[in-house]
Symmetry: C2
Subunit: 157 residues, 2 copies
Amino acid sequence: MRHRRKLLAEAQARGIRLTSQRRALIETIEDAPRHLDAAALLAEARKRDPDIDRATVYRTIDLLKKQGLIDELDLMHVEGEKHYYEVRSSRDHIHLTCVECGAVKEFTSPLFERLKEEIARQNRFDIKVIRLEVGGRCSRCAGEHKAESERSHAARA
Amino acid sequence: MRHRRKLLAEAQARGIRLTSQRRALIETIEDAPRHLDAAALLAEARKRDPDIDRATVYRTIDLLKKQGLIDELDLMHVEGEKHYYEVRSSRDHIHLTCVECGAVKEFTSPLFERLKEEIARQNRFDIKVIRLEVGGRCSRCAGEHKAESERSHAARA
DNA sequence: GTATTTGCAAAAGCTTTGCTGCAAC
DNA sequence: GTTGCAGCAAAGCTTTTGCAAATAC
């Protein structure tokens, strides 16, 4: 176990009915070393409970999203139109997705916090969700094959 | 005509073959008073050229996106999984979408520009696209029906 | 004249839904 | 015991693709 089950505890605290499927899904999201889309989440969760259905995955995602317990990402649609999920943390972070190699890096900054405050204050806008996603070329890809962006496509497959 | 055809001119400058369909689509995006999704763009563009096909819309969007001439938005998926498009402007802006009434407000800030610089510098990341989307409650909805968030759902239908 | 683009129609990909039986409290 | 949830399968919505005919330069 990589950390204590914050998400699970929080779900429980909110009075969410904890079925065995939800438990498996929540634990899967919490333990995932990378961002999972619905299909990947289903596959991973089935290792804990083989009978989980796709519909349950989507319904649980929806529930957790509405409760503000998880956030939804696109990762700039670098690999299709899927959505990815992660536990919402107290400090929002930025996702940098490399359009060449697909690597995702997270980044936090006090400047981002300040910007959030400014957005809320100047627009009198009550922020519920915020998502800052960046697409571009990571330092590794920029360094390795400067003029040769084709190969990386094959490398991702 | 609301402004001069910047997008059209830019497309031409890049050597994009300007077919009549592309012209109609580009002009439609440029003149739209709101953010259009693919279906709405198709419907609007057909007023200029009734024979335009859905496939052409998607192919043109793809082309313009790859050229960095338009940006793609989700508007926090407040109305389903569509994507919305807008002309890319020199100054990136933030989209605030009200989850109650669906209103979209744009916002720019020097702080956002500074944050972009910081992201690029600290991660040695070559930013190609950046998208900051915010979901929450706009001041109008907060003021009008503070404790009664149910009705607005019906109002949007 | 030649390379690109279009329209059409079919399919693909991701997500949602109705309904019956089952599980949590 | 009651209320809400899960599984199944089918449909929904948005987007993509193959191919022959049409179009731009």
